[in-house]
Structures are given as C-alpha cells and as structure tokens.
Amino acid sequence: MRVLPRKLLRDLWLSREILMAIIAVIVVGTGCFVGMLSTYNNLERARSNYYSLCRMADFWVNVKKIPLTELDRVLKIPGISELQARIVFPTIVNIPQSTSPISGQVISLPSKQSSILNNIVLQRGSYFSQVKREEVIISERFAQAWKIALGSSLELIVNGQRKKFLVIATAISSEYMYLTPPGKIASLPGEYGLFYIKHDYAEEIFDFSGACNNLIGLFSRGNKEAKGAALQKIDQLLHSYGVFDTIDRERQFSHLAITSEIRGLKTSAIFLPIIFLGVAALILNVLMTRMAEQQRTIIGTLKALGYFDREIIRHFIQYGLIIGVLGALFGSLLGYIISGLMCQLYDTLFEFPRLDNLIYPQIITLAFVISIFFSLMGTLRGVRKVVLLSPSEAMRQASPTTSKEVFLEKWKTIWQGFDFRLQMVLRGLFRHKTRTIVGIIAAALGASIVLVGLGLNHSFQNIIDFQFKRVTLSDYNITLKDRASRSVLDEVSTLAGVTKVEPVLYISGTFHWGHKQKKISITGILPQATMTVPQNGDRRVIIPNSGITIPSRLADSFGIQAGDQVIFIPVEGHKKSYRLSIAQVTQSMFGLNVYANYYYLNQLLKEEHSVSKIQLKAQQTPLQRRNFYRQIKKYAQIQSVSEIAQDKKNLREQFVAKFDGVLFVMILFAGVIFFGSILNASLILILERQREIATLRVLGYHPQEIGAIFLWENLIINISGAILGLPLGYLLLQGMAIDLQNDSFSIPLSTNLFSWIGTIFFAIIFVFLAHVFVQRNINRLPWGDALKMKE
C-alpha cells in the first residue's frame, strides 16, 4: 500500500469516534432511504401481483336490486369490458364464544370455481363442492381469530333468518386487503368477517333469483375521464333500481388504504434521508475543515515536496469517500432490516398472499451514490480552501482569529458580569460561526423530527378523544339492516341496563348543484341529541329545525354557502327529488358528515320507518351486560352492534400502540442527529482547546468543571436549535396533513404544548447523553503532553 492511503487509514482510526458519529447519521439517512423505498417496492409489487392474481375489479356498483337481464345493457356502455354480478349483504355471525353479536358480509361466488373478478385465494380447504348448498368459505383472519376449524358449522343471520353453514375453506382476497367494518377505520381480526357462499343459494335465501345488488367490472383501456363517464352512465342507466354508490378503484376502501400508505412511504423515503444526509454533510464539512486546518502544515509540506493539488485533494477526498461508502454499506444493511420490520408490520395491517422483503440493487446503488455524493460535498467544501493555498501560505500558521473580540464584548458591563467560563463559551460560539450554525441547523432538524413524532402521537390521541369524548357519547350503537319503525326504540329501551335511547336516521342519495354531484349520506339526529354531538371547531353545533348542516369541505368543493339550495335525490324512494336548503356550514375535523334535524328529515321523506341506528346509554352490571347481548343477538334486524368503549380501545391498540413503535424510532433517529452533531463539535473543540484544558487542569480544575464549559456550549447551541426546530416541525406536520387529505377525508394534524415542551426536553436529554461521551474524552485527555506540545 502506498504511503498516503496508509496515512489516511491511521487518521481515520485516530478520529474514529467522530467518524462513527457522522457515519451513524449517514447510516440512519441511507437506512431510511433504502428501508422505505424497498418497503415501497415490496408493497407495490405484492399489491400488483395480488391484484392480477385475484383479477381485481376496476369499479363497484352497489344497487338495491337489479335483474340480471340489465347486465347486457350495462356491458354495452362504451369503456366497460367486463361485468360480473354478485349478491352482497351484511350479516350477523353467531359465534358462541363471543358475548356480542359479530357483523360481517356475505358475498356470493359462482358454485364452480372460475376465473372471476375479485376472486378469492384459498388458504385452507377447497372450493365449493357439489354436495351441499350451505357451504361457506370464510376470511382467513376471521377463522384464525375465532379458531374456526374446517368442517365445523357456522350460524349466520341472513335475510332475517338463522342459517347453518358448513365451513369448507378459508380464503383471502385483494378486494379486502384492508378489512374493517363499514364506517370504521380500524378493527381487530375477529371483529368483522367475510362469508363467501354459493351464488344460487344466495339467490334463494335473499329472494334474489335472477337479480343481484352488486356489480363489479373492468374498464376497457381509457383515460380517467372516460372511466368517470362510464360510471356515470351506469348510474343513470340503473337509476330506477336505486344506485347507492358507484365506486371506482381509486375510491375503494381497501385500495385507498394501501395506496395512501404506499404514497406516504414514498414521501418519507425522500424527505427523511435528505434531512439526515444534509446534516451528515454539514458536520462532515465542519470536521474536514478542521482536519484540513489541522493538517495545514502537512498540506504545505506535501506541496513543497512536489505533490500536485489534485493528489492532495484526492487524498482528503478519500476520507469522504470512505465515510460515504461505510455509511451506505451499513445504511443498506439497516435499510434491509427496516424494510423487513415494515413488511412484518404491513403484513399484519394488510392481508397479502405473500409479502417478501426483497433486495433492490437499484435502490442500494442509488443509496451509495447519494451517500457518497453528500459525503464528498461535505469533504470537498471543507478541504478545498486549504489545499488551494500556495505552499508557503499553507505552511504558515493560519492567521489566528482569536484576537478579534466578539460583539457581546462591546457591552462592557454585561460582558464583565459573565463568568469567565461563560465568556469562553460565548467567544467560542461567535468565533466559529459556521460550526455554531451547523450545530443549530442539526439541532433544528433533529428537533423537527421529534416534534413531528410527538405531534402525530398527539393528533391520533386527539382524533380519538374528539370522536369518543365529544361526538359519539353513547355506550352502544345498534345499526339496523333496514330502517325500522320507531317502536323499535321502546323495545330496545327495555333491554338490560339501558337507561336512554336515541334514534338516528340515515338517508343516502345524491346531491346535485349545477352539473356537480356527489353521493352523500344525511344523518338525522334529535334536536337535543345527547349521543351524537356534531362539533364546529370546539363548539357544539345546534342543528336547526329545517335545512341541512354541511361541512365546509363539501361547501367548498361544491362552491355553495348557507342559504343556497341543493337538489337531493335519495337512493331509495321513488326517484323523487327534494330541494334542501343549506342551513349552516361548519368546520368539521374529518369526513363529510351532513346533519339534519331528525323530525325535519322524517317529515321531508314522509317515511314511517324512520330509525336506521339506535344509540343508547346503559348502566350495566356484568350480568346485565351478558343478558343485554343475549337479547340483542336474537334480533334479526340488526346489522351490527358496537360497544363504543371497545371501539375506542381497538382504535388505540390498532393505531396508537403501533405508532408508539414508530415514535420511538423517530426519536431514536433524531437522537442520532443530535449525537452526531454534538460529538463532532465537542471532540473537535477538545482537540483545539487542549492547551486551555491543560492549563485549567494545571490550575487545579476538575475535569467535570471543564466539562461543564462544553456542556453549556452544547446546551446553548442545541436548545436554540431545538427552538428553531419547533416551527419547522410544525410546518412539516402541516405538510404531511395536506399530503394525507383528499376531498372527502382529512386527518387534522396538530401539536400541543406538551409536544413542544417534549421536543425541547428530548433535545436537553440528548445533550446530556452526548455529554457523557464528551466528558469521557476530557477525562482521558493526556493534558500533561498537551502542555509540552509545540503548536
């Protein structure tokens, strides 16, 4: 090996602590990059394989009931290439081990296996046999959750009747990669099930012979507009049969869930690594500037000996190169681990036939390129200045900046009031401006990551609290399959432990305003409803006696305001249209909830069946609770029962608990930034101040007293950085919120005082943790030698 490379290796070894700190920052950066992009690819790949395996539909149409003879007319609509009819109904499963009734969905499948759209992928057992009509294939996770064995029998309440089915197989399907009960965003595996039954049997039990209520199909190739137009045509064509909803794939719940996840990954895969690699480049720049400054004489000597500038630059560039390569190497390794863990996480959140964690050479190559690029940037900027000096210039000591007084010293009285150690700290901070600024930037970026983490955590809590402490105040919600007459309220109020009941009426239909239209469901609640309390910002919304209350998001997308009148055509009923006036526009947190007075809505529709959902309060002993459920389970009209406390718990477990892991990782990674930046700055400073430290030691100062000077310096830099990081983190969070929202849904992301204080708190913790290392270096400094040394 030639001599300069040997020098390089020894120099690297000597500054290994600092280098490791910098490499750690790069490792985290490239790790996030590789990990997230790989996960992105893994998911994207698994999803598209799954879609083609199942022949995922392009659109869904939910109707009340249409004869199969209409299918041909639908197929003739230009832009539609394939169509398939299904019967889909909500159901209640009777699981003996469960106290509460469990809801699910019955979906019809052809009795002979064929290559249909939204096909299932069998997991255990085999497809329907020709032996028995009452066979059911159930969703895999549901079967696992309740330990339902093949060959056992399962009781479903379908069309108001109890039917026993033979479980012959379990399956998964790309249509339900993300499965939750309707209207909920999270659920536990056993909470909601899918039950595939033979189509002809479904026709029989639902009285649907020669009819269906769910169409799925494929578009022939075409652009977005053509597809939208085709869907509208379907809507118009089938209007008289009562179209609840036409959904293209972009809006399908499971698809939406996974695509927004995938999109989020891509955003973070770009923005997180930039922060980390940027910080790494900055602190590397500080380190290399210092190293070049320190090796000034060596550079001068090499030049005097006849080394070319490029040879010397190449030598120093290699530091950056090695750091970049090591960072990318370990970063890729970390990235592989991250994507492995994320695959595991996504495998529980979504259901895939298989989700492999692959290695993507292109991503790793890119990680190397980026890491090396940032490292070289940092190095080159640091070294260039010294290398380009003339040799005689380089051999002279750099003209000391030490003689200049910092601006604070101008205010003599204040300055002289400071302790000499504080004076030292302040002089240091102002003299090494670049370093101070780099330290502040690193701390700001680190703190912004912490704030984003804490803010997300706070937001999730906030959303759950908002929903369960302010909007939904009932103990149970009972959703009915069809609207029932008000007498059902009296029945329910006699159930065990029930203290109060309130009706809710849902009417779904289409809003029309000019040529714009949107499928909307109106929620009718009592004027003094106590269990559904719409909120406007932080005030309760008073629902006026007539007219509807719409959220501002809807008002904006329609371009309407209070006082305007929209046309509303309910799905059911007799193609009648109503003029509804907008009574008020409110600020809603998420979703598109349209409210109206319960009586007003009843009057408008002149319906006798006017209860879609019953909300109730209860005070129950455990025994009463069991009785309550036993009674409820007998009700055939029930679509689902949810216990609000349980829902809240599920949400917490599903999201908040899982996010705790993510939060931990985010704080850990932010810690790496603080650590890297602090160690780098302090270790350099210790080298530079060797003489000062030695002098203080000679005077009898304890190492801790000297360490305190460094601690002060780091606290000042990092707390001011963290304070600057607060608004930065806040902006990042708002950016994420915008990234997450679409025109019918938004997730409000916010911070609270606690997350702000928490961020500063973490910054301080990191400073103290890093200080342990700094102090150790001060203790170990051979200060006796430092005094003898010639500068």
Binding site: R2, V3, L4, R6, K7, R10, D11, L14, T297, I298, G300, T301, L302, K303, A304, L305, G306, Y307, F308, D309, E311, S390, P391, S392, M395, K790
Partner: protein, 236 residues
C-alpha cells in the same frame, strides 16, 4: 573558475499585501547559486531569508524579477509546472522538520520517493543519515535530531539537484546540530548536491563555499569562503 550557475536570480522583488499596505520584503535581489556548492544565507530575523529560499525552491513566486533554473524562468511557470520543478529538482528541509506524525520514519521518506521516477529507496536514504535502526519509529518516538535527519532523508531520497534547508539546526541543540550539519556536508561531498542553508548562527557560515548575507531585503554581501572549516572546528 566561473561555471554556469544552477540558479540565477535577477532583480527579484517580493512584497506582501497586508490589508491596505504593501510590505516590501525582498527589494531587488541578484544572486547566483552554483552547482555542487554549499551556499549559506545569513541575516537578521525578518530580513527575508525564508522568502528568498521559498522563491528559489518554487514554493513562492516573486512579485517581480526573474528566477532562472537552467533555461526556464520559474517566475513564468504555471502552478502545475512549478510543482513539476519542485517534484523533480528540489529537496526541502524545514526548521520544524514537518514530518507527518501518523507515519513512520520509513513512510515519511516514502512520501517523497513515491512521486519521483528514480529515488533512493527509503531504507537506503535512512541508512545514509544513520537511521537504519529506526525505520519503523514514529516521529513522536524520535529525538529532534533524529527527526531532522528523517527530514533530510526525505529530501535527499528524491536525488534532488537542490537541497534547500531553512534553519535545519534552528530547533536543535549544538551537539545535535553538528550531527545534522556534518551529514549535509557529507551528502554534498559524496552525492554532489547543491545545498542552500539558511542560518541565524554566523559560525555555521564557515562551513560554506559561499556566504550570502541579507539585510532588510537586499544582498549585503556575497563572499566566497576561501577557508572552509570542518564541523568540529566551529561552535555556536
């Protein structure tokens, strides 16, 4: 006896810009350095000795004037060519040795053997300066005199035409200084290098073929030393 000089300086001026003011350091130097000779430059501190040496060694450029090495005027060379000149013809020895602390004696010499085509192998060069037993010592494990000898080995290993030594004994005690000086004289005798030595200590001048005195940026006197003394005969 009037051989062609190895280096010929004509009206060389050098001044430094210190903010607003221009500080003249060399104020018109005419000097000839002859091949195979030991030239000693002496003068008071701040008189411009190092500046002059740096110009001769191609480490610095004159503000005005010509510096002839064979048929080239160093003052006209591009940076790249000037580096070439230093690389193949000049060996520098500094007052504070300027060794690289993370490299051993051998490796420090290799730093210069690696950039020329026909060097004296590092081990041989170190043997020439009497350090054959300290090949793998790091600078911190050697005395000042030993370090300076490594620096000399580093300079001579390139087989340079010119050895330029800026106060090579400045940081050494007289005893060690003498060892270093006798080494330089031996090299001059055995290998025939042209050597320029800057010194503060006038007695050292007695070793030279030619003694150049500088005072405040001008050549005060150039004398050919008729009666060279040996290292043992001088003291300072």
């Amino acid at each position: 006896m009037n051989p062609t000089p190895e280096i010929k300086l004509q009206s060389v001026k050098k001044s430094y810009q210190m903010g607003e003011i221009t500080v003249p350091v060399l104020k018109g130097i005419d000097l000839e350095i002859y091949p195979g000779e030991i030239t000693v430059i002496c003068g008071a501190s701040g008189s411009g000795k190092s500046t002059l040496l740096n110009i001769v060694g191609g480490v610095d450029r004159p503000s005005a004037g010509e510096v002839w090495f064979e048929k080239t005027d160093l003052a006209q060379l591009k940076d790249q060519q000037l580096t070439e000149y230093r690389r193949s013809h000049v060996g520098f020895v500094f007052q504070f040795y300027n060794l690289i602390s993370t490299l051993t004696a051998r490796e420090n010499v290799q730093v210069s053997t690696e950039i020329v085509s026909d060097p004296i192998p590092a081990e041989e060069a170190l043997a020439l300066v009497g350090l054959e037993d300290q090949l793998d010592y790091f600078p911190s494990q050697m005395s000042g005199g030993q370090q300076q000898r490594v620096a000399i080995a580093r300079a001579l290993a390139k087989r340079p035409r010119l050895m330029l030594c800026d106060e090579p004994t400045g940081a050494l005690d007289a005893q060690t200084g003498k060892i270093v000086l006798s080494l330089l004289i031996r090299l001059n005798q055995e290998l025939g290098n042209t050597i320029v030595i800057i010194t503060h200590a006038t007695p050292i001048a007695q070793l030279a073929h030619r003694i150049v005195s500088i005072s405040s940026g001008r050549i005060a006197k150039v004398e050919v030393n008729q009666k060279r003394l040996s290292v043992e005969e001088i003291s300072w």
